[in-house]
Point group: C2
Chain length 318, copies 2
């Protein structure tokens, strides 16, 4: 695939993600609005019931009971009509885009997922196109990263040779090669981004590392997912937007890197197969050359016999 074709496919993929995001956003945002209204209704009616039930009681005791119930339920039973309005929507456009991406890359966190039959059926059709496109795109991205990586590695050797004429590159075994490929990537794509996750999400560092690992291996549990905190936007302002963009960027490059490593491993395994094939072809070629040489020899003998006869003829004539 040429770079032009790849870029065309990338453009298609990005517009496909935006298309998916628009559809999911349109339908799920509406459903979420309905569900929020219902939840609000339930909350208010329960609050009403509770207030009616404890009649002659002082206000502070009543409030403390409501607090107890709220903390037990992990949602408010107070008469706070503003809370639901302030909490940001789960199905905003960014999360819809993020969701489309997690579908196509098969990460599938599942902290948000389609909530009705239409959404589920659309998701299936959407994934049927998105997963192969994503796969092809990342396969070539991985290849590109691989050639870049080996290029850098070669440059490093050249540089070392310039410094020291007697420099000889190390020959690494299979396991050492794996470590060589993995270590810089693990630092770059897991340990460094994990600092950012800890900062923006207020997670323990071990949880951030765990999240990065679970995402890049496409396991995607969804027990921890970034950018879903309800106060992040107010707290970090414009940096939060940068962080949201960074996550998409990290996701793409990280997956590309992982595909690259997988490609190296597969090549290492395949190269053994190819070596076997090569010896087979070489032995075939050798035997064919020998046969060719034999037939040439035969021809030479035949031609010489003709010449000999002709000369004999000449001699006879003389």
């Amino acid at each position: 695939m040429s770079l032009k074709q790849w870029l065309a496919l990338l453009a298609f993929y990005v517009s496909y993600l935006f298309f998916g995001a628009s559809v999911f956003y349109h339908f799920e945002h509406k459903l979420e609005t309905q569900k929020r209204a219902e939840a609000k209704q339930n909350q208010l009616s329960l609050n009403d019931l509770l207030l009616k039930s404890f009649k002659p009681m002082d206000v502070s005791l009543r409030d403390s009971i409501l607090n107890e119930i709220s903390s037990f339920c992990e949602k408010s039973v107070h008469n706070d009509t503003t809370e639901y309005l302030e909490k940001p929507y789960i199905w905003n456009f960014y999360h819809s885009f993020f969701f489309s991406f997690t579908v196509c890359s098969t990460v599938g966190y599942g902290n948000i997922s389609p909530t009705n039959t239409f959404g589920r059926m659309f998701m299936i059709l959407y994934a049927l196109v998105g997963i192969p496109v994503n796969g092809i795109l990342f396969a070539y991205l991985g290849e590109f990263f691989g050639s870049m990586f080996t290029g850098l590695y070669r440059l490093y050797h050249l540089y070392q040779k310039n410094l020291n004429k007697h420099y000889k590159p190390h020959q690494f075994g299979f396991l050492a090669q794996i470590l060589l490929y993995f270590c810089p990537g693990i630092v770059l794509f897991i340990f460094i981004p994990a600092c950012l996750f800890s900062y923006f999400e207020n997670w323990e560092y071990s949880i951030s590392v765990y999240y990065a690992f679970v995402t890049l291996t496409t396991i995607g549990f969804g027990d921890f997912v970034p950018t879903f905190g309800s106060l992040q936007e107010q707290q970090f302002g414009v940096f939060f937007r940068c962080y949201q963009v960074f996550i998409i960027f990290w996701f793409i490059t990280g997956l590309g890197y992982l595909v690259m490593v997988m490609g190296f491993l597969a090549k290492g395994m395949r190269s053994k197969k190819i070596a076997k094939l090569e010896t087979l072809v070489a032995s075939n070629l050798r035997s064919r050359n020998e046969r060719l040489w034999q037939s040439i020899q035969r021809d030479r003998i035949f031609v010489r016999s003709i010449f000999d006869e002709l000369y004999l003829l000449n001699y006879k004539v003389f």
Copy 2:
């Protein structure tokens, strides 16, 4: 990889899954027991508080209020000490095994996930070995399914030829081939198992189809996961055990089938590359043959000139 090696790897993988299951079961079951005790404590103290708060009130009204709160919270606030004892554990051995498998296959439902730092770190180390082993195992399983599938396809053609001497196999295009590979698999691995899921899980059929699709593509949202119902074991008895085993079996064959289809698609794409290479080699060969032929022609002309000279010599002599 020979069948023997594959079976050895399979044996290793299965024991690795059992090992993971034991570790997760051991730690998470303990944590779950603690959490259940805490939840029970919270429930009872809230119940106590509520009963104290509505003092002079008739029992049926009080119960109806408790019911309202319970349904709002989606967990009981009654003083029912038996409920928590009866509800089956989430982290039983089967679910631990299932969890290990979802980690190694990168499905990662995430409806259950490690709950403390030790569990998370262990999961990372566990996946580092499990994912590659799973990948290699399924790559070969997919290859095996592929050869079985093409074998069956060939047998069908032979059978058709025996019936009808003039039978010619259809030549399918790329898209038609994809459909040919996909259709039987979709019926066998999605639509038929979905009936079972609907029966045992009491899901709508569309949800069962959605679950099967989300699982086999390794998206794994985890919004619907089988065998987690709290009453299934009592309701279906021994059939539930069979169903649990069936799910593992379905999972393995379904993933193998999907890898097979992916392999066919990749081969189809690669075969285009190979076809290009072949035409290149063929044109090289042709040009080389032509060059060879030209040189042979030259040699023939040269030899003929010698012969002619010799004959001339003869004539001269005569």
